[in-house]
Amino acid sequence: MAKNAHNKDLQVAHPETSHAHGEHHPELGFWRKYVFSTDHKIIGLQYGFTALFFLLFGFTLVMIMRWQLAYPGEAIPLIGWLFSEESMPGGVMLPEFYNQLGAMHGTIMVFLGVVPLAVGAFGNYVVPLQIGAPDMAFPKLNMASYWAYFLGGVVMLSSFFVPAGAAKAGWTSYPPLANIETMGQTMWLLGMVFLITSSLLGAINFLTTIIQLRAEGLTFMRFPFFVWAQLITSFLLLLAFPPLEAAAILQLMDRLAGTSFFMPGGLVVSGQVMDISGGGSPLLWQHLFWFLAHPEVYVLILPAMGIVAEIIANNTRKPLWGYKAMVYSVIFLGFMSFIVWAHHMFITGMGTAISAFFQITTMIISIPSVIILSALFLSLWGGSIRFTTPMLFALGFLPMFGIGGLTGLPLGLAPTDIHLHDTYYVIGHFHYVVAPGTILALFAGIYYWYPKITGRSMNDLLGKIHFWGTIICMNFIFMPMFIQGLAGVSRRLYDGGQLYQFAQPVLKWNEVMSIAAWIMGLVQIVFIVNLFMSIRKGKKVSDNPWEATTLEWSATSSPPLAHGNFETMPQVYRGPYEYSVPGNSRDFAPQNEPEEKVSAA
């Protein structure tokens, strides 16, 4: 983060100086240092800010949608005039535009918001520090990964401006709809190719870094849980994304070269027989898509669990309960996540054998989640709990993820999924895991590692306002979705279900949910102010303000740029969470302090 000292370089920077080949730490110019940087911390921050921007953008899209859901057909106040006549004539949203907003909200939140923040930003900034590495194993690849992500984002954003607008076929982009929709769909595919490339490069880098650059003495079972989470996450990205890339290539061929990979013959669209060879299958896309997208949802949750585990250990001042069980669970979870994907496809017409297989694996995969969550709950027992801002967010994560996870169970049983599939119950289920779940955990991480990044802490009062405002609003937004879903209201409805008789009793919730969403939008302003203000105005703190044990806290705050991080390669002596060790006077024993020093302290 821009420490004052760096601002000097900002003025005297000349790109040419970057070509100097100094022996040690060549002085890099502004461009090489902050824009095309190869330092994992700068790249992490680039990822972080870009991802936060996209989160805010994706949230804005949904706030606009929520107006239409609460007050269908009414002109949008204040900002209605901003939009073109093709999307909002007279400020009233058209269904085409609603579908664009929905598809782009899902895509942006998942691929441009949460994953880049959880993996790109936190992973990049924290993992090398936590394992005592000077940088990522392949710094240039790291830079390429960020810029591929950036380009993917640009392509996605610009798709709003192509004729007939952005993608409209949902974040799942199911053909044949996705094949016959307008040009935005092609842009979506191109954007996805960039994003997939970015994630693959990132995954290769993380895995190599964690395997090869661990500090002396840092065995796998001494990893902080966050590192484990990132390790498994990278595996998921590495092996699950390519089939979607394959599918994206095939869909591009369908759209651009007129092939029929996903198109059966004999289609009649608006009265016209389609001129295609046929012979393809729409279900093929679904298999390839969900082969990625189920592991992807664990990509959304594992880093969040990692962050929460770090913060809970630190703020209860005791080791995590059942660390080993958690590690085995997360490995098992990663493995299983590859063989449950078709639980998203029960209603496509699966036979007994295949549906039984996927129901069983889906139930099995819930067990490691139960173990991890129980371990985190039990970790609180016997602690000396400090209710710091990051801790509040981490604690908020636990029941929220619990609710989200539990509501996954009726979806995972095929017969009960009959009633719930593609209703707001599903929307409620996964938002509980990704929004009050993952998003809270990501906020927790920001508050927790901010002092490491800037040397200052964020304002506590504002943080607490942010926490309570967010968690209360989140529940008002997402809890009513279960009610609507159980009543049978379909998702992706432009008017929220106005036309349906059976939906009438639960429609009143739409207004409640929307108002809660807008209030939550206002609450985020507190966060944004806090985030930027604290860079300059935040309280200056020591290198280890939380009195934590993991390696990142032994580096100076704002760890030095240009392949450094640590003065010397750290040596690790013990497990990650040696808090309140009996017999020690201090209640924490950093991983890198030799025994003599710890007991003397």
Partner: protein
């Protein structure tokens, strides 16, 4: 290959490379020859994939020297193989376990 590889070993390897090349060329000829027999699809598939697997394994084992590779690499690859098999088997078996009928116009 690890640091301990010496020029002597390499010379030995070179002979192996030539032998492997011979095997690959011969197997290619065999696949093509078998294909001209126009067996019915199942045996043809088995033969073709069997030979292709042998060829692929030869390349991986000797040219990519997997045969003397370190444990980490295997640990990484084993999952790839499992998930690849999963992708094939489940996707394809779900085609057969579909309620209702595929319409072929």
């Amino acid at each position: 290959m690890s640091d301990s590889t010496h020029a002597e070993d390499v010379k030995k390897h070179v002979r192996i490379y030539i032998a492997v090349f011979g095997a690959l060329a011969a197997l290619t000829v065999v696949t093509v020859a078998v294909a001209y027999l126009h067996l019915s699809i199942v045996p043809a598939l088995i033969v073709a994939l069997f030979i292709a697997s042998i060829k692929g394994s030869l390349v991986a084992a000797y040219f990519m020297h997997l045969i003397s590779e370190k444990k980490v690499i295997f640990a990484l690859l084993i999952f790839t193989v499992i998930f690849l098999a999963v992708l094939f088997v489940l996707t394809i078996s779900s085609y057969h376990d579909q309620i209702g009928g595929h319409i072929v116009p």
